[in-house]
Amino acid sequence: MYLYNEFDDKFVRARVNQFRGQVEKRLDGSLTEDEFKPLRLMNGLYLQLHAYMLRVAIPYGTLDSAKMRQLAFIADKWDKGYGHFTTRQNIQYNWPKLKDVPEILDALADVGMHAIQTSGNCIRNVTSDHFAGAAADEIEDPRPTSELLRQWSTDHPEFQFLPRKFKIAVTGSPNDRAVTKAHDIGIRMIRNDAGEAGYEIIVGGGLGRSPFVGKVVREFLPREDLLPYLEAILQVYNLSGRRDNKYKARIKILVHETGIEEIKVAVEKNFLTQKKYFQAPSDALVSAIEDYFIPPKLIDEDVKGLEEAMLKNPALRSFVDTNIEEHRVPEYAIVSISLKPIGGTPGDATSEQMRLIADLAEKYSHDEIRISHEQNLILPHVHKSDIPALYDELKTLGLATANIGLVSDIIACPGMDYCALATARSIPIAQEISTRFNELKLEHEIGKIKIKISGCINACGHHHVGHIGILGLDKAGIENYQITLGGDGTQNMTIGERAGPGFSAEELMPALERLIAAYLDIRENDDETFLNTYRRLGQAPFKAALYPETADA
């Protein structure tokens, strides 16, 4: 875990004090809202439908127990006893009071956290693979690179007023769990034919109003060149990205309108200039950070008792089947803790749950916790012998839902229950889907499927890359839900295709039931996932299920 040095700490404290002064000036009337708004946004403070919302960065989704306990403390002291984990590995508090926010930021700084650059047209919180440092398929831990990018982008004077927000994701594994191709810059840690470590740089991906799959701008970037190369991309964007139209201001539009070849030429040319300004090679900077991410000392001990416990307890077996991923050390497991209880709000955790997870991380996972973009929590280093005990403890606070990757493991943005930008609600739709399929007892039969729900076209709920995507819109004053099919957020990223006209909230659930029933009917065998069936047969049979009237006509 990266520890703040004196420089980080001073900077964050200085920002808190600046913001405290800004809040005072706003409250005494010497700052207008127009003047204050960009300042509060720079510090992660939004005004939503019913209250303020504070978005706290969890860099590359990594936490320890001290940080998690502080998040719980903040939830209790200044909010309503819970927090919402987001698709960008942040946590959001939905009910802070303006006057309390400087104190909250101080409390965050106490544990080396902040809300800086979680909003605004700057480089946002850098996200990464939530299994980083633990996954069996990993080439290299992406977190030291991510941390370097956090340091480089934080308060970077040239990139505080970009044409639009800018999101970077890093993966160290060929199986992309960080959705890198949907980011402004996606970074894949790779090795070339000579075995040298480098990065593949992807640019111009994004979801939202105009979804694009990112394109490779540099196939192999030597590790020493990372910062000057990224700086070169950002400069090209900063100068050439559109500022005339908010909806065309992201780098994906620049890449799309200019063409990747021309962008490549401009970036490479600029890179040669930038390289001269960087004294330290980026790989040396990453190496210095690597000391903070030394893998925990895992114990070399055979797995004891897990098989026997699973034989006695089918619920534990089910949990192991769905919530466990392969660790690079065979005796260990990566345990996902689902924040998707049946009928619950995706991504929400109470302060009590946060404290339990902090305790369990200390006890069973070398004090490490991760947040996934799929709004779940992860204990990355659990010895398999500890799984039965861990499971029992998770169960005490409703944290043992065995549904990772299944139909009720839904991503949903806050939607119009909280968000001022939303055009419809997302949360009740997610609650209904998980409740209904649980009633039908179909979850395990359906198998691996990703449903993702956004409450507006900005696509915080990643609906474009859901196997089933749901987009909530306002159609003549009524909430209406459009379905997209066949999306995929992995290394094979695909934008889902719109199935047809939208459904009212009442029509949506029966339509989804028909869709799933059709899938179960036409899949080749039990192992063919929804996505693979869709890829094999195309949209027609799914469309016929969604719109039976049209099909009959």
């Binding site: 706003r26 409250l27 009337g29 019913h50 303020y52 119009m416 609650q431 306002d474």
Partner: protein, 105 residues
């Protein structure tokens, strides 16, 4: 033919709490939609909005929201977004729905 004017209220968020607020007939901010001044003419609506929007030290983002008028003569939201603003989120019993005075409307 001129289109009939949809009745409106002036609404905003409270600067300190962020809570949804409405402007009443005495040019005061209140927490319940049922206490808001109903504006039935465009000029009247714009004039009250102009007064309300000057109150920059205690509110954020004043605007006119469409309402319908119920049998008791009280304003009720015309759009689902405004309805949610009168209640709070649907996933938890938080926000305005916990305050009994909003139930009167």
């Amino acid at each position: 033919m001129a289109r009939a004017f949809t009745p409106k209220v002036v609404t905003a968020n409270d600067l300190l709490e962020g809570d949804v607020i409405y402007f009443n007939a005495n040019n005061k901010w209140v927490r319940a939609l049922s206490d808001a001044a109903i504006l039935t003419e465009l000029e009247e609506a714009n004039a009250l909005l102009a007064i309300a929007a000057k109150d920059i030290d205690s509110i954020v983002g004043a605007y006119l929201a469409d309402v319908k008028i119920d049998n008791a003569g009280k304003p009720v939201p015309a759009h689902f977004r405004e309805e949610f603003r009168t209640k709070g989120p649907s996933n938890y019993f938080h926000g305005k729905q916990t305050e009994s005075n909003t139930q009167k409307a």
